[in-house]
């Protein structure tokens, strides 16, 4: 009976894995087709569509914009997450409960609602569409998450350790640097990682904020697909998957993905 259970469990796990990976596999495979339209299974094998991608400068500039905004979102989210998390964890100030409530309910707001709201708001404030407004829009998505992660990290920090450090002669900044920061290091890396992915991946919010001259990669792909459904799109998709894989491998190499999610706690 237990062997049957194990077998069924294994089969289920494989099916779930297949279900998750199938769309990616289809995208990758169909990017190799020789036909001028997207089809699966691919007919023949060619790298022509990859060459097409690199001959379209608008895709390359969109990629650069997306990466730039995503890096900005990652950096600002980490800093704002740390500051916000510390403030909420340490101090009792007017509006603290409200701030915490807003930060946790930010997840509940549908991104399309957020996009419409930001469109109105930016227009009324007279903010022209720019990488900066895009960054602001993405920060609304990513900062609450970073704050949450930092708060979780701080919850695991014994305040007495900070007192001990101060007693041992560490000035306030040294206490922060040697004791507080290491406790939230994982949270900060995780928050930045999440912010990068969220920003790089976002279509809904960006659709409302961008202009014809300023398009993030997902928006560019979306718009392109309205008129040309050729395998260039799947080639770009494959490149994005490749980009993500490389990113994960690099992070794994230097940081360890498990650590992003606080898995280093129990190894100590």
């Amino acid at each position: 009976m237990t062997r049957l259970t194990a077998l069924l469990g294994g089969a289920f796990a494989v099916l779930v894995g297949l279900f998750l990976i199938a769309p990616v596999a289809v995208t990758v495979a169909s990017s190799l087709t020789t036909t001028a339209y997207v089809t699966f299974p691919p007919q023949g094998i060619t790298l022509r569509w990859y060459a097409e991608v690199f001959q379209k400068p608008e895709f390359l500039s969109s990629f650069a914009l997306s990466v730039g905004v995503a890096l900005g979102a990652a950096a600002v989210s980490a800093v704002a997450g740390l500051a916000g998390g510390l403030a909420i964890h340490r101090y009792r100030f007017p509006g603290r409960a409200a701030l915490e409530a807003v930060l946790s309910s930010a997840f509940a707001v549908p991104t399309i609602v957020l996009g419409i709201g930001l469109l109105q708001w930016f227009a009324q404030m007279g903010l022209a569409s720019s990488p900066f407004t895009l960054l602001l829009a993405h920060l609304v998505l990513t900062v609450p998450y970073a704050v949450r992660l930092v708060l979780a990290g701080l919850a695991g920090l014994d305040r007495s350790a900070e007192k001990a450090a101060a007693g041992l002669g560490a000035p306030p900044f040294a206490v922060f640097w040697h004791v507080t920061l290491p406790a939230v290091r994982g949270a900060l890396i995780g928050g930045a990682f999440f912010a990068f992915i969220t920003s790089f991946d976002d279509l809904t919010v960006a659709l409302f904020v961008v202009t014809t001259d300023l398009q993030t990669l997902p928006v560019r792909i979306f718009n392109y697909m309205q008129y040309d459904y050729d395998p260039t799109v799947t080639a770009i998709g494959t490149l994005m998957v490749l980009f993500a894989v490389v990113a994960v491998v690099v992070i794994e190499r230097f940081v360890g993905v498990a650590r992003l999610f606080g898995a280093d706690r129990d190894q100590q």
Partner: protein
């Protein structure tokens, strides 16, 4: 650790660490948590702040460490006013109930932290850390992370971290409370022995009266933000100065009577028509004043030869292993005696006399 302690180089020539608190107060959340605390330690003394939770002992310790700022009064170390000095410019080693080790550093890195902050060169640092780890019995654990140590080992590492910087004062905030009973007793004895050896003035905060009695040179019993009594353990135990001290520490017979007058070895009072004596806590009362005597069960002797003392009838005797508990009903109420196991056990219903040495009991006005 006990073996390492005897091999360690003696540093008991340290003659610093005289702490003085003068009228120190602290208000937290609108409540005066510490009212007006005065105390002064001798250099090298082991002084304990003992009291129930909420009595202000930890707040007092945090003011000494600088983590809280006093709202009034003066804190001095060796004549230097440190009341407004931030914690990192005081020289205090502190050990916490939660150990408070830095989880991302190894034991050696933890211990070296204070030396790093003091810019001690790496080579000296390594040598001092190794010496200190040996002193607390953690040699061989230097490269482990705190999470891989037992509670007792973590607390030893914390102690090493606090002591390696040779602080003016060692502050211990309930350091044994998280340990199991056996380890608690062993570690507290080791800490007391180490303290005597290196001679660092030490302030211990605890709610455990047995711990306080076992390790301290002097004990300050605190309640409601004030020190009720500051004295050596023997005096605190045998001659409590206030009702609170008498009842907080151990078991006590509180007997009500009327002050009569001084006698050769104490102060006499009349209790239910009999004359008994004790030592006044503080100023002797005036004759005729209502007083209360505090007599520990251990000092009560039971006799049947008609000696002077409180007469009564034995109501109950019970064998407790280390002691025999004997309750005597007297006109002044029940008196409990804890007799040594080889004492003659009186029979229930027997007429006996309860007596004690006047120097072993105290009396205070009620």
């Amino acid at each position: 650790m006990s073996t390492s302690v005897t091999e360690a180089p003696a540093r008991s020539d340290v003659r610093r660490g005289r702490l003085r608190l003068d009228g120190v107060r602290k208000v937290l959340g609108g409540k005066e948590v510490v009212s007006s605390v005065d105390l002064e330690t001798e250099p090298g003394e082991f002084l304990t702040l003992l009291g129930p939770s909420g009595c202000g002992k930890t707040t007092t310790l945090n003011m000494v460490a600088g983590h809280l700022t006093a709202d009034g009064g003066v804190i001095e170390v060796d004549g230097r006013d440190i009341t407004a000095v931030p914690p990192h410019r005081r020289s205090m080693g502190m050990v916490f109930q939660s150990y408070a080790l830095f989880p991302h550093m190894t034991v050696a890195e933890n211990v070296a932290f204070g030396l790093r902050m003091r810019k001690v060169p790496a080579a000296d640092r390594r040598r001092q850390v190794a010496e200190m780890l040996e002193l607390v019995g953690l040699d061989g654990m230097a490269d482990r992370h705190p999470g891989r140590l037992s509670g007792g080992q973590q607390q030893r590492a914390a102690l090493a971290r606090a002591l390696v910087v040779q602080p003016d004062l060692l502050l211990l905030d309930e350091p044994f409370s998280n340990l199991d009973a056996q380890l608690r007793v062993r570690l507290r004895e080791e800490v007391a022995a180490l303290q005597r050896r290196i001679g660092t003035t030490t302030i211990l905060v605890t709610h455990d009266q047995e711990e306080a009695l076992a390790v301290s040179d002097r004990i300050a019993v605190m309640a409601d933000g004030v020190i009720h009594q500051l004295d050596r353990p023997r005096e605190i135990y045998l001659r409590p100065g206030t009702d609170f001290v008498a009842r907080f520490i151990g078991e006590v017979n509180a007997i009500e009577g009327t002050a009569a007058g001084p006698v050769a070895d104490g102060y006499a009072c009349t209790v239910a028509g009999e004359t008994v004596a004790a030592t006044p806590a503080g100023d002797p009362p005036a004759a005729g004043e209502a007083v209360r005597l505090y007599v520990r069960p251990e000092v009560v002797r039971i006799s049947t030869d008609g000696a002077q003392g409180l007469r009564g009838t034995v109501r109950e005797t019970r064998f407790l292993g280390s002691r025999i508990r004997c309750v005597v009903a007297t006109p002044a109420g029940e008196v409990t005696a804890a007799l040594p196991f080889d004492a003659r056990v009186p029979a229930v219903g027997e007429e006996v006399t309860c007596a004690w040495r006047p120097s072993d009991a105290s009396l205070a006005a009620r």
